[in-house]
């Protein structure tokens, strides 16, 4: 018997929703859960009651994810809500993100861990600034699969030409952004057309429904496969009687595969050694794969501490103190060129100085603007930082763990930017 009764374990797909305000993101998620029978009775009772209390004529499925009081009052999404559901094919983690430009940082939070982005477009409005911004952010975060849902088709008599026109515009946008895998579905989240069930109103659309597509879409799992990386989180030294001489390095594999016997190099010290063991509690493994949290032991007694990076001997990352990256700025206080911040790249933290701004992205035209170095909240820009000590990293495109970082304001402790190393 499988472990959950009838079924064996399933693969996990993480996706995020994006799009402009009122495009129906939360309604789509509500509809998806409702029609796939993933809403529990007590949850349904609850939203029926809330809909009534808020004076709505019909049951508002968006109330399922808009969980904060302020969100329900205003009918908007302020912060990411995570939802979970499973079908016989797959398990899903959904990050339902806000559409307001003001809350872009929450959208980026939700999107940063996603394999797939679902971008909603209001069929009446077509491609809006937020559509472009979110598509751009998805490509910046290296999300390689995008499903565009052209929503509210019911309000335009389910007309095929509306869908085709928007699809053409989005296809141009996607090719400019070099997004590899794109899909288009005409839907009505409110009435459920093409969400779980094929639409009776749009017989001209013969392709997969939204649910069918997310159940079957093949996710490229080759991310971070190039170059074995192991950021050290903690040194394990039990000093107990039985394990007196045990010295292990705890971390989560951030790329590639490590095997027992592999020759490795430790950065920044450049010390070399060999892997003598890979432990997960009493279990000793031959191999540790991308995403596994393990403890590695080495053949030699060497100096390794938190923030160090263990790599395979012949797969060295890049290193330096001057680092160029794309950033998304999150804070009300604008970026200060010449200002000092803390930068955090995997388990490694150091001081940095903002050296220069290369350009700022104009989201409407997707042009790189130079000469304007005012980087404010929600802006996307290319900058160069200088760090107090060398960092050991990869480009974000090569490895999204060793290639990503956050910038922290020393004074307020806030995370002020996300950086993707170029």
């Amino acid at each position: 018997m499988g472990i959950n009764g009838k079924n064996e374990y399933k693969s996990l797909l993480r996706f995020t929703t994006a799009g402009s305000v009122d495009d129906g993101k939360s309604t789509l998620i509500g509809r998806l859960l409702y029609d796939s029978k993933s809403i529990f009775e007590d949850q349904m009772d609850h939203i029926v009651e809330s809909s009534k209390r808020l004076g709505k004529e019909e049951v508002d499925l968006s109330l399922l994810t808009d969980g904060l009081r302020a969100e329900r009052e205003q009918g908007i999404t302020i912060d990411v809500a995570y939802r979970y559901f499973a079908t016989p094919e797959r398990k899903f983690i959904i990050a339902d993100t806000p559409g307001h430009i003001q809350y872009t940082r929450n959208m980026v939070t939700g999107a940063s861990t996603a394999d797939l982005a679902v971008i909603l477009v209001d069929a009446r409005k077509g491609v809006l600034e937020q559509t472009i911004r979110h598509t751009f952010i998805a490509s910046l975060l290296d999300i390689r699969h995008i499903i565009f849902c052209i929503n509210k088709m019911d309000m335009l008599a389910y007309a095929e030409d509306v869908f085709t026109r928007i699809k053409e515009n989005l296809a141009i946008l996607s090719s400019e952004l070099k997004i590899e895998d794109i899909h288009f579905i005409p839907i009505s989240a409110k009435y459920g057309d093409n969400v779980v069930h094929s639409s009776e109103n749009m017989k001209w659309y013969q392709d997969k429904t939204f649910l069918k597509l997310i159940e079957t879409i093949e996710i490229r799992k080759d991310k971070n496969s190039n170059g074995a990386r192991f950021p050290v989180q903690a040194v394990i030294r039990p000093l107990s009687e039985i394990h007196h001489d045990y010295r292990g390095y705890a971390g989560r594999v951030a790329g590639g595969i490590f095997s027992k016997g592999d020759a490795i190099t430790i950065l920044p010290t450049m010390i070399r050694s060999k892997i003598s063991g890979i432990d997960v509690m009493e279990k000793s493994l031959d191999k540790a794969l991308n995403g596994d949290s393990v403890t590695i032991t080495l053949e030699d007694q060497v100096d390794v501490s938190r923030g160090n990076l263990i790599v395979k001997e012949n797969e060295l990352p890049e290193s330096g103190q001057e680092i160029n990256m794309m950033i998304c700025w999150f804070n009300e206080m604008p970026l200060k060129v010449g200002g000092k911040y803390i930068v955090r790249n995997y388990s490694n933290e150091t001081a940095c100085l903002i050296k220069s701004v290369g350009y700022k992205m104009n989201i409407n035209t997707l042009e790189k603007e130079t000469g304007n170095y005012e980087i404010g909240m929600n802006d996307i820009a290319n900058i160069t930082i200088r760090t107090a000590k060398p960092l050991f990293y990869d480009s974000y495109k090569k490895n999204n763990i060793t290639g990503s970082l956050i910038i922290i304001d020393e004074g307020t402790n806030e995370t002020v930017a996300a950086g993707m190393i170029e």
């Binding site: 472990i3 007590d42 949850q43 994810t65 903690a234 039990p238 432990d279 938190r306 402790n413």
Partner: protein
């Protein structure tokens, strides 16, 4: 049929990663331990994260005094077995010291009062991080929570202004007097927790398996009877086979009519259920935003 455990491995990898980040970024670290399955899984993950070294956490139990006896025995045994310090703070003490006013009436619960006892413990013991077993699938306000959730000097959560949390890079920077709540199993569902318990052969209190118990019905929820429970005139106590789907304060934890006496049966039961885990939790039924309001005040 070969069982692949891809999703559990991914969730475990994530949770252990978070545990280790907590250990590295904070000074005085506790795991909030209730004796329920989620906190038992947390303790298992912490053990796994630091093996063969001892986990760098103490267990903190905020005790409402309204417990299932077995939970307390289980708690004491587990902390002894792991050699980890167990800290217990009593809601009764907060009441006696006049910090909390005890609710009265038939629906009286000490659930809300726990927040005050917890915040006092955090201040008294200078705790700067409390690791909890909260999961985003439990409740709509929980669905909004970050892994690393900042609390100001008053212990409050500001859900409208949470720090961005990118990838798995966690920012635990804070000022004196502030603290963090961290939720390593944020992304786990109830079913994931049970499957993991089966896979890892984690021992649980017997209350989770079917047993005879005296219960009564209130507003469609079956509650376990205890001497300190006040019954309404229409409520009748009877004995039947039940099990706990969640374990918490006895006054607000519902029990389920069930014959499931092993993990496989429990998993089948949960896979087929049409009511959420917290559907039987009386504390969430008090108002529309009951959980959000409690969390803002410093609840788990």
């Amino acid at each position: 049929m070969k069982i692949s455990d891809e999703h559990l491995k991914e969730l475990e990898g994530e949770a252990i990663f978070v545990m280790r980040e907590v250990a590295a970024q904070f000074e005085k670290k506790v795991i909030l331990f209730s004796g329920g399955k989620d906190s038992i899984v947390l303790v298992h993950l912490a053990k796994k994260a630091f093996w063969p070294a001892k986990m760098p956490f103490s267990l903190l139990h905020i005790d409402t005094g309204h417990n299932f006896e077995e939970t307390l025995r289980f708690r004491d045994d587990l902390s002894k077995e792991l050699g980890v310090e167990l800290i217990v703070r009593l809601v009764q003490d907060s009441i006696d010291q006049g910090k909390v006013r005890e609710e009265t009436g038939v629906n009286a619960s000490r659930n809300k009062a726990q927040s005050i006892t917890l915040l006092n413990a955090i201040e008294e013991l200078r705790i700067d991080v409390a690791v909890g077993g909260g999961r985003r699938d439990e409740e709509k306000a929980r669905a909004k929570e970050r892994f690393f959730s900042h609390r100001n000097e008053f212990g409050q959560w500001d859900p409208k202004n949470q720090r961005p949390e990118l990838w798995n890079i966690f920012n635990g920077h804070k000022n004196m007097g502030e603290h963090f709540r961290v939720f390593p199993i944020s992304n786990w569902t109830e079913l994931d927790v049970w499957q993991y318990i089966l896979k890892e052969k984690i021992r649980l209190p017997e209350l989770y398996y079917t047993h005879r118990r005296r219960i009564f019905e209130r507003n469609g929820v079956f509650l376990a009877w205890a001497p300190f429970m006040q019954l309404k005139p229409t409520e009748k106590v009877f004995e039947t086979d039940v099990r706990c789907r969640t374990i918490g304060d006895i006054t607000c934890t519902g029990v389920t009519l069930s014959n499931a006496d092993n993990l496989e049966d429990i998993i089948s039961e949960i896979a087929a259920t049409r009511v959420t885990e917290r559907g039987g939790r009386y504390d969430d039924k008090r108002s529309e935003a009951a959980m959000e309001d409690r969390k803002k005040e410093g609840y788990f």
